[in-house]
C-alpha cells in the first residue's frame, strides 16, 4: 500500500520530511513541491527557486540571458501500472516478488495457442482515471496490436489501444507551490488508453548473455498522454506529481516511481519566443523521480537553447535521450531513423470494449473526492496554500485531516497539529498516518482540551506522543496523570510567591534591569506546577509580583 508522503513521496528541502534521496546529491537540491509546514523551514536553507542545471563551461548568467529568448514546449507520456490482483489478460498474480518467472502462464508467455482474456478491472480503472481526468469516454473502444520484436515482448506485439482510446480530451488542474512562483494551472490530457506491460531483460555482468523475466509481462497499464501544455521543468514535475496523486486517490495504482509503477517519458522541444511552430522534439526516458523530470527538462532546455544560440539548431534531432542521474545530464540513447512503423491493427482475439451509460454512471458515483476538489475545499476553509498542498498531497493524510475536522476540531489547529508534530513523529518513526494509534476523534478531543484550557499546549504536546504510540483517550490520560491545567489564580500566585522568594538574587538582578530573567522565573513556576500552570495566567501574575514595589 501507499506509504505516506513523509517517507516516499519526493525530495523536499523545505521540510523535516525531506528524503535521503534529496540529501544524497547536492545541497541546493531541487524540490518539486513543498510539503513543509510553517514549523519546518529550519531544516535546510530556504531557497526561492529551483536550481537550473546548466551544461558545464557556461556562465549561468549568460545562459539565463539566452534562455529568456526561448520557450519550451513539453508533453508527458505517463505509464501507470495498475494494482489489479491479476494481470491484464490472464489470471497470473500481479503481485510478485523479485524472483524471476514465477508469475507466468501460457498466456503471458505467449505460448502457441494461448489467448488473452480481458481483466474487467482494467476497464474499470481506465474509466475511473478517465473520469478523474475530465475525459470523454469511448463507449465503444477496442484493442489493437502494436508490433515489434524484442525479447521481453513474448507475443511479438503489445496489446494496446491505437485509434480509439478508452478516454480522451480531458484536463487536469493543479497548483504550483508558492516557492516556485505559485499559481493555478490547467494542462490538457490528450488521451488515456489501456495496454499491457512487457517483461524485463536481465543482462549478465560479463555482457555475454541476457535473460528474460516475464513476471511483469501482461501487467496492466494505463498510458496517459498530455497535451504539450507545459513550459518548464517545474510544471512538468508538478503534472507528474498530480498524476501520481490522482492514481493514489483513485486506488488504481501505488504510483511508486522508484518501483516503476509510475513511469514518465517527456517530449520536449524549444522554440524562439513568438514562433508558432514547434521545434524538433526530443524524448527523454529514465526519469524515475519527480526531481529528475524537472532537472532533466531544465538541462535539456539549456542544451537546446545553447545549440540554437550558437547557430547549431540542426544538431537538435529527433531522438530518445536518457537522463543520467549521476552526471545530471541527458545523453543520446537512440536516434530515430524515420518513424517506427508498429503496424497497428485491431486485436482479433478480443471483442470490442462496450461501456454502458449505467456502468459509467455507477463508477462516476463511486469516485472519491479528487485532489483538486480537496484543495479548493481546503482553500475555502481558509487554509493557506502551503497547508492546502501539504494536506491534500497524500490521500491518507487528507482523509485523516477530514476526519479530525469532521469531529469538530478547528481547521487551522488541526492542520497545524498534523503538519508539525504528527508529521515529525511519522518521519522519525518511519510510519504512515494509517499506522498511528491516535484516532482523528482523539486528536479533535486533544485540540478541544487545549482550546478550552483543560490542559496546556505544552502538556498537549507531551501526551500527543503517547497517544500516537499507544492510543487511548485524551480524557482518560488527563485524568490518570492528573494533567488538568491549573487556572486558579490563587494557586498560581502561591507558586509564584514561593519561586520569587526562593530566588532573591535573580529578583534583584531583574529589578535592576535584567528583565530577561522573567523567563527563568516562569520556567521555575512551570516546573513546580509540573507544567500544568496556565501560561497566560502565570505570566500575568509573575509580572505583577516581579514588578511589585514592596
Amino acid at each position: 500500500m501507499s506509504t505516506t508522503l513523509f517517507r516516499t513521496f519526493q525530495p523536499n528541502q523545505f521540510s523535516l520530511l525531506g528524503t535521503s534521496l534529496l540529501r544524497r546529491r547536492r545541497s541546493n537540491n531541487f524540490s518539486v513541491r513543498s510539503c513543509g509546514s510553517q514549523t519546518t523551514t529550519t531544516h535546510e536553507a530556504k531557497q526561492s527557486s529551483p536550481t537550473r542545471v546548466a551544461p558545464k563551461n557556461h556562465k549561468s548568467n549568460k545562459l539565463d540571458e539566452i534562455l529568456r529568448d526561448y520557450e519550451a514546449v513539453i508533453g508527458i507520456e505517463t505509464h501507470v501500472q495498475l494494482s489489479t490482483l491479476t494481470k491484464a489478460f490472464c489470471s497470473c498474480s500481479n503481485n510478485y516478488g523479485s524472483y524471476p518467472n514465477i508469475s507466468i502462464c501460457p498466456v503471458c508467455m505467449g505460448l502457441p495457442g494461448a489467448l488473452p482474456v480481458l481483466n474487467s478491472k482494467v476497464v474499470e480503472f481506465g474509466v475511473r482515471l478517465g473520469l478523474a481526468l475530465n475525459c470523454d469516454l469511448s463507449l465503444k473502444s477496442k484493442f489493437d496490436r502494436k508490433q515489434y520484436f524484442y525479447p521481453d515482448l513474448p507475443k511479438g506485439y503489445q496489446i494496446s489501444q491505437f485509434d480509439i482510446p478508452i478516454a480522451s480530451g480531458g484536463y487536469v488542474d493543479l497548483d504550483i507551490p508558492l516557492e516556485f512562483g505559485g499559481g493555478h494551472r490547467r494542462f490538457g490530457i490528450t488521451r488515456v488508453h489501456m495496454e499491457e506491460d512487457a517483461g524485463k531483460l536481465l543482462h549478465s555482468d560479463t555482457g555475454d548473455y541476457s535473460q528474460v523475466d516475464l513476471n511483469r509481462a501482461g501487467v496492466p497499464l494505463l498510458e496517459i498522454v498530455s497535451e504539450p501544455d507545459m513550459r518548464s521543468g517545474i510544471e512538468a514535475a508538478e503534472y507528474a506529481c498530480e498524476m501520481q496523486r490522482i492514481a493514489r486517490y483513485l486506488g488504481v495504482s501505488n504510483g511508486n516511481m522508484q518501483e516503476g509503477s509510475l513511469r514518465c517519458d517527456v517530449n520536449i522541444s524549444i522554440r524562439p519566443i513568438g514562433q508558432a511552430e514547434f521545434g524538433t522534439k526530443v524524448e527523454i526516458k529514465n526519469l524515475n523521480a519527480f526531481s529528475a523530470i524537472s532537472r532533466a527538462i531544465d538541462f535539456e532546455i539549456s542544451r537546446q537553447a545553447l545549440l540554437y544560440n550558437q547557430g547549431k539548431a540542426d544538431e537538435i534531432v529527433t531522438e530518445t535521450r536518457l537522463w543520467e542521474e549521476g552526471a545530471q545530464k541527458t545523453v543520446t540513447m537512440r536516434k530515430k531513423e524515420g518513424l517506427a512503423d508498429y503496424r497497428y491493427f485491431p486485436e482479433p482475439d478480443l471483442p470490442e470494449v462496450i461501456l454502458t451509460k449505467e456502468y459509467v454512471d455507477s463508477i462516476r458515483a463511486s469516485l472519491p473526492e479528487l485532489p483538486e476538489a480537496k484543495r479548493r475545499r481546503y482553500e475555502a476553509m481558509g487554509l493557506g496554500m502551503q497547508d492546502v498542498l501539504f494536506l491534500a498531497n497524500d490521500v491518507s493524510v487528507a482523509e485523516y485531516f477530514d476526519a479530525v475536522i469532521g469531529k469538530g476540531a478547528e481547521v487551522k489547529l488541526a492542520a497545524n497539529w498534523i503538519m508539525s508534530d504528527i508529521a515529525a513523529y511519522l518521519k522519525n518513526e518511519k510510519l504512515s498516518i494509517n499506522d498511528i494509534k491516535l484516532t482523528p476523534h482523539e486528536l479533535a478531543e486533544l485540540i478541544a482540551a487545549i482550546k478550552d484550557g483543560t490542559i496546556s499546549g505544552k502538556i498537549g504536546k507531551e501526551i500527543l506522543f503517547e497517544l500516537l504510540a499507544k492510543g487511548g483517550t485524551v480524557k482518560g490520560m488527563i485524568k490518570a496523570k492528573d494533567l488538568v491545567q491549573i487556572t486558579d489564580p490563587v494557586e498560581i500566585e502561591k507558586m509564584v510567591i514561593q519561586v520569587v522568594s526562593e530566588n532573591p538574587k535573580q529578583l534583584e538582578q531583574y529589578r535592576s534591569g535584567k528583565t530577561k530573567l522573567q523567563g527563568y522565573f516562569a520556567g521555575q513556576v512551570m516546573k513546580m506546577s509540573k507544567g500544568k500552570a496556565n501560561p497566560g495566567l502565570l505570566n500575568k501574575i509573575l509580572l505583577e509580583k516581579l514588578n511589585a514595589k514592596d
Binding site: 502457441p112 482474456v117 525479447p151 511479438g156
Partner: protein, 534 residues
C-alpha cells in the same frame, strides 16, 4: 437414443437414379449400387459394441493401430502417433468392467491436427520452428474430447501453420491421398482428412481458416464440418488468422462429424471470441433411414450459388454438384439459384486479411522462449536465423505479404479495404440465407490433383480456395460431404458438396447432410487402398 442409426433394411425409399448422363463419373463399385448400405456412424458403432461386450476398446484400438502400421508408410498422415493409445483404451475397458458410466466418445479414436495443442504430445503445426515442442496444456477441444472418453491417436500432418491447400507445405512429410497415392489429400488439414478416409482413426479434428477442413474433406471423400466462428473454443489452436480460424471436424459420416462437433462446442472462458449460444443436441437429427418420410426434406429451401458453377470449375465437379442438387430436390427441397455479387471479391480479401493476421500471430515464434533457437552474436541475427531456418517458404511469403499490407501507408489500401469487402460478403450471405435455409456449392473447383502439380504456382493453388474462403469471411457454418466421384486415380476421385448454413445453425446442415448421405445411392466413399487392408 443410440438406436436411431440402425443398418437400413431397405434402400428402396428413394427412386433416385444418380449419375445419369454423366460419363465423367465413375461409380466406385459399378454394378453393386443397390447393395451398398449407407455409411454408419463409427462413434455409435463403437459405443454399441463396447456396451454389448461384443468387443473391447483395446481390441478396437489394436485394429486401428495395425491399420496405421500398414497404411502409414504410404500415406504419411501422422506426424506423431501416441504411445498411449492402447493404455487409454484399456482404461476404458476397465471402466466398462467396473460398470462405470461411459462418456459419449468412450473408446473413439481421434486424430488431432498438429496445430492443436495436446499436453505433453508434440504439437508443431508441421513447422521446424516448433520441432519437438510439447505444450504444457491441452487445447479446450482436446480437453473436452478426453473428458468424454475420446482417445487421441496422434497428431496429423498439415501445411505448416495451416498455410496451404495440399499438405505439401508441411516441414516434415508429404501426405498422400488414400484414393490415389500420387495425389494430394488437400489441405491444410490433409492429414486429418486422409487419416479418416483411410480409417486410421474414426474421426479427427482439423482447423479451417479458408477451407482447410472442407477442401481436404472433398479431396478425400469424407465429411468435413466447419462450425460457426465462435462455436468452438480456439484456445490451444495455434493461431494462423485469428478472426477466421475455427476448429472443425472430420468423420466418415455426417453423424460422426456432428457428434464430434457437439463434444467440442460451447463457450470457453479462455477464448473471448467463443460464443455463449446454446449448443443444441445435434443427435436428434440423425434419424435412421427407415424413419424417413417419403420426402424427408420437404420444404427445405436450398439455394445453389450461381457464381460457384461458372468458368474455372471442372465439368465433373459441376455435374456432380448439379446431381447433388437434384438429389436434394428429390428429397423434397425447394431448389433455387442464388447470386452472391461479392463472391469473386472474397479470395483477394481473404488473402490480405489472413496474411496480415498471420504476420502478427507468427511473431511469437522468435526462438527466445521455446522452439528452435539459432544461437547468434546479436539479437537481430538471432531473430533472423531462428525464423529464417524455422519457417518454410509459404509461411515466409505470407508473413511478408501480411507485413506489407499492414505497413503505414498501405493499411487503408489493403487491410482496411479487405475488411470492407468482408462486410459486403457478410451482407450478401445474410440476404441469401434469409431467402434460403441452406446454400450449396462445390467444395473445390476440382477433385484432388497430383502431388507437385501446383507447388510452384501459388496463385493457382490459392484460386482453389475460391469456394470456401467466403464462408470464413462471413463466419458461417459449412459442411462438405461426398456427393460423387469423378474420373481419376485407380477407382475415381471423390467430390464434395458444400452446404452453408446461417450462423449457429449447424443443426440444419447436419439434418440435411445426414438425410442426403443416408439416401445417396451408387457409391460408397471408401478409398480403394482399404481393399487390401483388413
Amino acid at each position: 437414443m443410440l438406436s436411431t442409426l440402425q443398418p437400413p433394411r431397405s434402400l428402396s425409399l428413394l427412386p433416385l437414379r444418380r449419375f445419369r448422363n454423366s460419363k465423367t463419373i465413375v461409380s466406385a463399385s459399378s454394378s453393386t449400387t443397390s447393395v451398398i448400405s449407407p455409411p454408419q456412424s463409427q462413434i455409435l458403432t463403437t459405443r454399441r459394441s463396447l456396451l454389448s461386450g461384443e468387443t473391447t476398446a483395446a481390441e478396437i484400438a489394436k485394429s486401428y493401430l495395425s491399420r496405421i502400421r500398414l497404411t502409414e508408410p504410404q500415406l504419411k498422415c501422422f506426424l506423431h502417433v501416441s504411445e498411449n493409445v492402447l493404455k487409454d483404451a484399456q482404461e476404458i475397458d476397465q471402466r466398462i468392467a467396473k460398470g462405470e458410466e461411459l462418456g459419449p466418445l468412450a473408446g473413439v479414436l481421434i486424430g488431432v491436427k498438429d496445430n492443436i495443442c495436446t499436453q505433453g504430445m508434440p504439437s508443431t503445426a508441421a513447422s521446424r520452428i516448433l520441432e519437438h515442442y510439447r505444450p504444457p496444456f491441452d487445447a479446450t477441444a482436446v480437453k473436452k474430447i478426453k473428458e468424454l472418453g475420446g482417445i487421441v491417436v496422434g497428431k496429423t500432418n498439415m501445411d505448416e501453420f495451416g498455410m496451404g491447400s495440399t499438405t505439401e507445405a508441411s516441414a516434415f512429410q508429404v501426405t498422400a491421398n488414400p484414393w490415389d497415392l500420387s495425389r494430394v489429400p488437400g489441405g491444410s488439414s490433409g492429414g486429418s482428412a486422409a487419416a479418416v478416409a483411410a480409417r486410421q482413426c474414426m474421426v479427427s479434428l482439423g482447423s479451417d481458416t479458408g477451407g482447410s477442413v472442407r477442401q481436404p474433406a472433398s479431396f478425400c471423400g469424407v465429411v468435413g464440418l466447419k462450425p460457426t466462428y465462435g462455436r468452438v473454443s480456439r484456445f490451444g489452436l495455434m493461431a494462423y488468422a485469428s478472426s477466421l480460424d475455427v476448429i472443425g471436424c472430420f468423420g466418415s459420416t455426417v453423424a460422426d462429424a456432428g457428434m464430434l462437433l457437439h463434444a467440442i462446442s460451447g463457450y470457453d472462458r479462455f477464448d473471448s471470441t467463443s460464443s455463449k449460444q446454446d449448443v443444441p443436441e445435434f443427435q436428434s437429427q440423425f434419424l435412421s433411414v427407415d424413419h424417413f418420410e417419403s420426402k424427408p426434406l420437404n420444404g427445405v429451401k436450398v439455394g445453389i450459388i450461381r457464381e460457384t458453377l461458372e468458368d474455372g470449375v471442372d465439368s465433373g465437379v459441376r455435374s456432380a454438384t448439379q446431381e447433388a442438387a437434384s438429389h436434394l430436390e428429390a428429397l423434397g427441397c425447394v431448389l433455387t439459384e442464388v447470386s452472391l455479387p461479392s463472391f469473386s471479391l472474397g479470395l483477394p480479401a481473404y488473402y490480405v486479411i489472413a496474411s496480415s493476421e498471420s504476420s502478427s500471430n507468427l511473431s511469437r515464434y522468435d526462438g527466445v522462449r521455446y522452439g528452435n533457437q539459432v544461437m547468434a552474436e546479436e539479437l537481430n541475427k538471432l531473430y533472423e536465423c531462428s525464423r529464417g531456418e524455422g519457417f518454410g517458404g509459404e509461411v515466409k511469403m505470407r508473413i511478408l505479404m501480411g507485413t506489407y499490407a499492414l505497413s503505414a501507408g498501405y493499411y487503408d489500401a489493403y487491410y482496411k479495404r479487405a475488411q470492407q469487402v468482408r462486410t459486403l460478403i457478410r451482407k450478401d450471405f445474410k440476404a441469401a440465407l434469409e431467402q434460403n435455409d441452406i446454400l450449396i456449392s462445390p467444395a473445390a473447383p476440382s477433385a484432388a490433383y497430383k502431388i507437385g502439380e501446383k507447388k510452384d504456382d501459388p496463385l493457382a493453388m490459392y484460386a482453389g480456395d475460391i469456394m470456401t474462403v467466403n464462408v470464413n469471411l462471413a463466419g458461417l457454418p459449412a459442411m462438405v460431404l461426398p456427393c460423387g466421384l469423378v474420373e481419376g486415380g485407380p477407382s475415381g476421385l471423390p467430390v464434395g458438396l458444400q452446404m452453408i448454413g446461417a450462423a449457429f445453425d449447424e443443426e440444419k446442415l447436419l439434418k440435411v447432410g445426414h438425410i442426403f448421405e443416408q439416401t445417396l445411392k451408387g457409391s460408397s466413399f471408401v478409398p480403394p487402398l482399404l481393399a487390401n487392408v483388413p
